[in-house]
């Protein structure tokens, strides 16, 4: 009997925990509320299946536990029941997969006109690059990374000279505009993760990865690294600020371009002061 009680308590307790627990996701700040909705659908379908199986087991134990003189039924197969259950399961799985694949299609289809913003990971620091007046990001190469050029911009590419560089500072994004986040690493694997955006993606040295989003509310959010990248992994934090258009313009105008940074570096300023200058603004 203890078994039956525990099984019932466990099934109902799990549902109650889910409904009553204070532990739920942080309020969303991007357009990916479709993802949240798909998770909620999945919770209900899987929750129903879990409770049904556990309660069925509890009933079986209650009803068919050994009593003196009892014998079990003899029924090797029941083709009709088995195919009925297989069909039902297939439908349930399809009900979760189909919306999932539709949303995935949206997730990987970057809208026309999304602004490109580059995020660069290195042990254990976030840096950012935005295109300058020409609206284009210049090319980069890991081989070009030096203490003065930590993001490895190609000095011979004119498109890169006016790129805005933010080393170890805050990233600002305008609210309501789609952004394509380009992700790059100069050393090891990292993962750009902002819980409020719901999206995340690994950053892989040697290639550029991406995802896109539209920030839906202003605020200051935390950037975490979500791919174990060495001893400093949990300390690799950054900040992303979603601004109104006006605030964003003001912030943008305060950032330094690659050529400005190179000039100040070559005029004797050390890398440390350049970083300090960039972050102070």
């Amino acid at each position: 009997m203890a078994v039956v009680v525990i099984l019932v308590l466990l099934a109902l307790g799990s549902v109650l925990f889910h409904v009553l627990s204070p532990w739920w996701w942080t309020p969303i700040a991007s357009n990916w509320n479709y993802i949240d909705n798909t998770i909620i659908i999945t919770f209900w379908i899987t929750g129903f299946a879990f409770v049904a199986v556990v309660l069925f087991m509890a009933y079986c134990v209650l009803r068919f536990r050994h009593r003196p003189g009892a014998t079990a039924d003899y029924e090797p197969e029941n083709r009709r029941l088995e195919s009925w259950l297989a069909t039902g399961t297939t439908l349930g799985v399809a009900a979760m997969l189909t919306p999932g694949l539709f949303v995935w299609h949206q997730f990987i289809t970057v809208p026309e006109g999304a602004t490109e913003v580059e995020v660069v990971g290195q042990q254990w620091l976030w840096s950012f690059r935005l295109s300058g007046a020409d609206g284009k990001l210049g090319t980069t190469e890991a081989r070009d990374v030096t203490p003065e050029n930590t993001l490895g911009l190609n000095r011979n590419d004119a498109a890169g000279l006016d790129d805005l560089i933010i080393e170890g500072g805050e990233l600002h994004l305008p609210v309501g505009k789609p952004v394509k986040i380009l992700l790059r690493s100069v050393d090891v694997l990292h993962d750009f993760y902002v819980p409020e955006f719901r999206a995340k993606m690994d950053m892989v040295p040697g290639m550029v990865t991406y995802f896109w989003l539209t920030p839906t509310r202003t605020g200051t959010f935390e950037i975490l690294c979500a791919e174990l990248c060495g001893t400093g992994h949990p300390q690799m934090r950054g900040t992303v600020v979603v601004d109104t258009e006006e605030d964003y313009r003001t912030w943008l105008s305060e950032q330094q371009t690659f050529s400005q940074l190179s000039a100040s570096a070559s005029s004797g300023a050390s890398k440390a002061t350049a970083v300090a200058a960039a972050t102070a603004q």
Partner: protein, 592 residues
């Protein structure tokens, strides 16, 4: 409807080969140490796996102490923490679960359950164990090597695994880890070929494939999968070892290490992830399928009822085994691989849910109208179903590509895989040990200690891993030495973490009760007799218990029926052993 018991009472084919002559040990050393008897090898595998498993258990305590009470224990710094999680994960998956299911249960049960005298290549089988022991020793050596073991996470992703920002990356840690895995795979291959060939070639007369117990089907399919999947890990380890020691660039693009240009260039870190998960996903089922098989037999025996839908169960095992080779990239949805892969891998992953669900239905339908004896093996089987269903269902979140995006790399993933491939298979291991200990030792395990062990372990493990999903849902990433200050994690999550830690300490301590029971019952357990559970399968029909070398005495058993003739209408007892000839008393009608 086809009769799964067809052929009962038909004339048996004559023997195709003569009975084998076994190597007979001449001394204590060849009988108990360098033994070629699969049963001794099984116990050697089991003991070694349990011993190294206790190391993993102790590591899990240290991990939980840090997570529950961050900053309290000076012994655990960030480097040590990453070394602990890496070694805990690798030990549990490879050196405990794989070794125990295939090397332990495979060796003990395959020859006995198919009616063979031993494995077909006993010498290679013996070597398999000693090479496994060497792999374990190399792994343990890394704890004492300069720099300590690797802290790259059990996935060992390059480039960080071989660089200085990771513990053991530039020291001995990663070298010993990769070497140990290579040695393990060599040893496993020797054992694995044995298990496969013994099932295919060593079965007793009358033991058709579709009469084999599901335990054998599970171990057999898992071994075939392991023989196909481990080579991917093998080459990945060799290549990474070359990258680390010889300066090749299989997995290394041009990168910077702590501000300095390295000589690497042109390699692909993602290639390693594909190779790793091409092994790693089948590995999940290499652990799960033996558990599926064993639990089917536990439920059937202790519910005194044939397993429901036997043929469907066999096909589900085979189909899951096949499908598990085309789902690997669901571990890589946010790895930066081509995003269009997501459509394919999400679809294949969710398709696997169908045969898996069928297995669950058939287990619970076996309970329906059964005669359920709530023995310890049955209790553990019920606990397996609960935890496996729970963990399997959260797999539907993580397999559904877009749902995985927010949850990936969070504690939700940690909770999911611990529930489904940690807790659930270990419930089966416990159930199986309570079930077969009487055959192995001739004595029963103590019931009172067993019940304490069961209830603490089952409820405790659920209390650890069920709430952990919600820590991940909040957004807490996995593999964080300390969460520190955050804007999105409420203070109460720390209390929840402390609760989980306390539960983990208690569950760990309950395993000491279990180990004590194993030792105590060896001398003081109740005498079991040859077939205490009144089971049908061949291992319970041996002339002596524990079975001696050669298993069957003078005559090999002959098999007349499937493994699940429980509560057959009209039979004098509620079970008919597989080697029981039918004197025409039983008609086929009973099996419709």
């Amino acid at each position: 409807m086809v009769d799964v018991r067809s052929g009962i009472g038909e004339a048996l084919p004559p023997p195709e080969v003569e009975d084998v002559e076994l190597y007979h040990p001449h001394s204590w050393w060849t009988r108990y140490v360098f033994s070629q008897d699969a049963k001794v090898i099984a116990i050697q595998y089991g003991t070694t796996a349990t011993a190294i498993g206790m190391v993993a258990l102790a590591l899990s305590w240290l991990i939980r102490l840090q997570l529950g009470f961050p900053g309290t224990f000076e012994l655990i710094d960030a480097d040590a923490y990453y070394q602990f999680i890496t070694m805990h994960g690798m030990i549990m998956v490879i050196y405990l679960l794989t070794a125990l299911f295939l090397g332990g249960f495979g060796n003990y049960l395959i020859p006995l359950m198919v009616g063979a005298r031993d494995m077909v290549f006993p010498y290679a089988n013996m070597l398999s164990y000693w090479i496994y022991l060497l792999a374990v020793l190399v792994l343990v050596a890394s704890f004492f090597a300069p720099g300590g073991p690797t802290g790259a996470g059990w996935t060992l992703y390059p480039p960080q695994a071989v660089l200085s920002g990771t513990p053991g990356g530039k020291d001995w840690g990663i070298i010993l880890m990769l070497s140990s895995l290579i040695i393990f795979i060599i040893g496993f291959t020797m054992g694995g070929l044995n298990y496969v060939v013994t099932v295919l070639q060593g079965r007793a007369r009358g033991m058709t494939l579709m009469r084999m117990p599901l335990t054998v089907w599970g171990i057999f399919t898992a071994t075939v999968m392991a023989l196909l999947a481990f080579p991917a890990l093998f080459v990945a380890c060799v290549m990474m070892l070359f990258d680390r020691l010889l300066g090749t660039s299989f997995f290394m693009p041009a990168i910077i290490e702590m501000g300095e240009q390295l000589q690497y260039g042109g390699g692909s870190p993602i290639l390693f992830q594909h190779l790793f998960w091409f092994f790693g996903h089948p590995e999940v089922y290499i652990v799960a399928l033996p558990a599926f098989g064993i639990v089917s037999d536990l439920i059937s025996t202790h519910a005194r009822k044939n397993i429901f839908g036997y043929r469907m169960m066999v096909w589900a095992i085979v189909i899951i085994g096949g499908l598990s080779f085309i789902v690997w990239a669901h571990h890589m949805y946010v790895s930066g691989m081509n995003p269009y892969f997501g459509f394919f891998f999400a679809t294949t992953t969710l398709i696997i849910a169908v045969p898996t669900a069928i297995k669950v239905y058939n287990w619970v339908l076996t309970l329906w109208r059964g005669n359920i004896h709530l023995t310890l093996p049955m209790l553990f089987a019920l606990a397996f179903i609960v935890t496996f269903v729970n963990g399997g269902l959260t797999g539907l979140f993580l397999g559904n590509v877009v749902v995985d995006v927010p949850l990936s790399d969070t504690m939700f993933v940690v909770a999911h895989f611990h529930m489904v491939m940690g807790v659930a298979p270990i419930m089966v291991i416990f159930g199986a040990i309570y079930h077969w200990y009487p055959k192995i030792t001739g004595r029963m395990l103590n019931e009172v200690l067993g019940h304490i062990h069961f209830w603490v372990t089952f409820i405790g493990a659920y209390a650890i891993f069920f709430p952990m999903h919600y820590v991940g849902l909040v957004g807490v990433p996995r593999r964080y030495y300390e969460l520190g200050e955050t804007t999105f994690v409420p203070e109460s999550v720390h209390d929840l973490n402390a609760f989980i830690t306390v539960a983990a300490l208690i569950v760990g301590a309950a395993q000491i009760v279990f180990l004590f029971n194993l030792a105590w019952s060896l001398r003081h357990g109740r005498e079991a007799g040859g077939n205490p559970w009144r089971a049908t399968t061949l291992e319970w029909q041996t002339p002596e218990t524990p079975p001696p070398h050669g298993n069957w005495g003078k005559e090999l058993p002959v098999v007349y029926r499937w493994a699940y003739d429980y509560s057959v209408p009209g039979a004098p007892e509620d079970f008919i052993p597989q080697n029981h000839p039918t004197p025409g008393r039983l008609s086929h009608e009973g099996a419709s």
